[in-house]
């Protein structure tokens, strides 16, 4: 009996489904929020280690509770709404950021069958929700009615639209290879991907460049350094967040880190073989898939933090050049290469349902 089915046997079809799904949503959301707190802590620790500092080490053992202390401090502050702000939009913007950052987790498969919504257009859902994430930033920038937030909002809008184009092409290559838009199917398509031995698209020479490009694009999509131009503190103070305080700022912050964690989970699903062990070797399957997924997420987050500590910020025109003049042609060309390979050297297109033999 499924988890939702158990609720339905007690509460009836409709109400049981509702209660079961609600519990499942909480079962994803609460760990994600705790994960966000730990991610902020890890980010600061890794950053500190790179700079030969200690980082947070006072609150709790090893400073583990630092984030919770920061959050408590933040919530106790006063919410300030600028008098010339467009009030409704100003308050809506952080909510949109936060809700979208959580909604995107609905399609994430943590293990075989361990997924809330097993959509057959899962990848498109991810793409749609992440492309809507720009509204939180652009709305906050405009509604603050202040010049730094406005510049931050404009930068963010241009940046995210630019990098979405190449991100789309990278996703096309992955979905052509997996013959599916469903995230679980994409993971399973990576089983024994290379020589029947290695699990993961990243080990495939055809998709390896796509994996690297996706990582960089993910940094740009989540406004992480070196692409954190929308909140560049050297030029824009804090960009779109300047006028926000207390809860509304916290929502932005949580949403941003939830998005980063999601990208850290999406890269394993698309390129590192998700919940599969890296080697297609029976003893490795004794470790639960969930653990593999978490280990891969942690590794990706370490890479994100590593880049943040090691790389200086891009100049805006260089950012645009990288997006439009380097990534777009490269990913477009690579889609042609991947589909050509699949067309002439494999039988994937012939075997697909609805295909026509040319």
């Amino acid at each position: 009996m499924t988890f939702t089915g158990w609720f339905q046997s007690y509460l009836g079809d409709g109400l049981g489904w509702f209660a079961g799904t609600l519990v499942l949503i909480l079962a994803i959301m609460l760990p994600v929020m705790v994960g966000v707190a730990m991610a902020v802590y890890a980010d600061r620790k890794i950053w500190a280690a790179m700079q030969m500092r200690r980082g947070p080490n006072v609150v709790g053992p090893f400073g583990l509770l630092q984030t919770f202390a920061d959050a408590a401090k933040l919530f106790l502050k006063e919410t300030i709404i600028p008098s010339s702000a467009s009030k409704a939009v100003f308050l809506l913007a952080p909510m949109i950021s936060f809700v979208l950052a959580l909604a995107i987790w609905a399609v994430m498969p943590f293990d075989a069958g361990l997924v809330l919504a097993d959509l057959n257009v899962g990848l498109l859902y991810v793409f749609a929700v992440s492309s809507m994430g720009v509204y939180g930033i652009i709305m906050s920038g405009w509604a603050s009615n202040s010049k730094y937030p406005f510049l931050g909002g404009l930068r963010s809008a241009a940046q995210m639209v630019s990098y979405e184009v190449s991100m789309g092409f990278i996703l096309v290559a992955v979905m052509l290879y997996a013959q599916s838009l469903n995230l679980s199917d994409i993971v399973m398509a990576q089983k024994g991907n290379v020589l029947g031995l290695l699990n993961g698209n990243i080990f495939n020479p055809l998709l390896f460049p796509m994996g690297i490009m996706f990582f960089i694009t993910a940094l740009a999509e989540t406004n992480r350094p070196p692409f954190d131009l929308p909140e560049a503190e050297a030029e824009l103070v804090a960009g779109y967040q300047v006028e926000y305080s207390s809860m509304s700022f916290a929502l932005f912050f949580l949403g941003e880190y939830a998005n980063i964690l999601f990208m850290c989970a999406l890269i394993p699903v698309l390129f590192l073989g998700g919940w599969l062990p890296p080697l297609d070797w029976a003893p490795l399957y004794l470790v639960p898939g969930f653990v593999w997924m978490l280990v891969k997420m942690a590794f990706m987050f370490f890479c994100f933090a590593w880049v943040k500590a090691a790389v200086p910020r891009y100049r805006y025109d260089q950012l645009m050049r990288l997006g439009w003049k380097v990534f777009l042609p490269l990913s477009l060309f690579w889609v042609v290469v991947v589909s050509g390979w699949l067309m002439f050297f494999t039988d994937k297109f012939v075997a697909a349902p609805g295909s026509v033999v040319l």
């Binding site: 409709g14 467009s86 939009v89 959509l119 057959n120 257009v121 498109l124 859902y125 793409f127 749609a128 492309s131 809507m132 720009v134 509204y135 652009i138 709305m139 405009w142 406005f150 909002g153 404009l154 809008a157 241009a158 995210m160 639209v161 979405e164 838009l181 025109d317 260089q318 050049r321 697909a352 349902p353 609805g354 295909s355 026509v356």
Partner: protein, 205 residues
């Protein structure tokens, strides 16, 4: 009332309300935001029809890209809202006339579609075959049966894109451009040149 019916009325009511708010709100940025609500709810209606691929595309293309650019342009406009509203009375008859024409056309189109039920205007394709997702079915129809129409639509878009670029592109004279390849190719050998001038002597560069 089942959940689907409830969801349909919810999406439909929000959609119409948002559409009305697009033309009623005084601030153009609020109009665009209402338009986004509109697109989003239209996507919801697509999902209720079982066309999840179209729903996702609607959200990706219209909400994720087109509306962002709209918002981008509208935010930068310098508009005097009071002046904008003063012309309302003057343009109202004209607007009503255009709206009336469109409404009549829609009614005529819908009416003839119903009247032509027995006439095979289009040979409508059957639903999605078993064992095939919506996405695969759209792809297999679009790239075989409607290939020429699809390619023609692509060409029209390409031409309009080239047109837009040609119209707005201008050569700016005197701007300094960064050549990344040039910078990367520069080595100490051709950039540094050691010299040891004597006292009171200059260096020839």
């Amino acid at each position: 009332m089942t959940a689907a019916v409830f969801a349909f009325y919810l999406f439909a009511v929000v959609l119409i309300t948002a559409a009305v708010m697009v033309i009623l709100s005084r601030n153009p940025v609020h109009s665009v935001l209402w338009l986004i609500v509109c697109f989003f709810n239209a996507g919801g209606l697509f999902i209720l029809l079982g066309a999840e691929f179209l729903a996702m595309l609607l959200v990706i293309v219209y909400v994720g890209a087109v509306a962002v650019l709209f918002l981008f342009v509208v935010m930068m406009l310098d508009i005097d809202f009071a002046e904008l509203r003063s012309g309302m009375a003057r343009y109202l008859p004209f607007g009503l006339a255009v709206g009336g024409v469109l409404l009549t056309e829609i009614i005529l189109a819908v009416g003839s579609w119903q009247a032509g039920a027995g006439v095979p205007l289009f040979d409508v394709l059957a639903g999605v075959p078993d064992g095939m997702t919506n996405t695969q079915w759209i792809g297999s129809v679009l790239y075989t049966r409607y290939l020429y129409i699809f390619q023609a639509a692509g060409l029209v878009l390409l031409v309009s894109m080239i047109g837009a670029i040609v119209l707005t592109h201008r050569q700016r004279i005197g701007t300094k451009r960064q050549s990344i390849a040039h910078q990367v190719a520069r080595t100490p050998k051709n950039a540094v040149h050691p010299a040891q001038p004597g006292v009171g002597q200059g260096v020839e560069l």
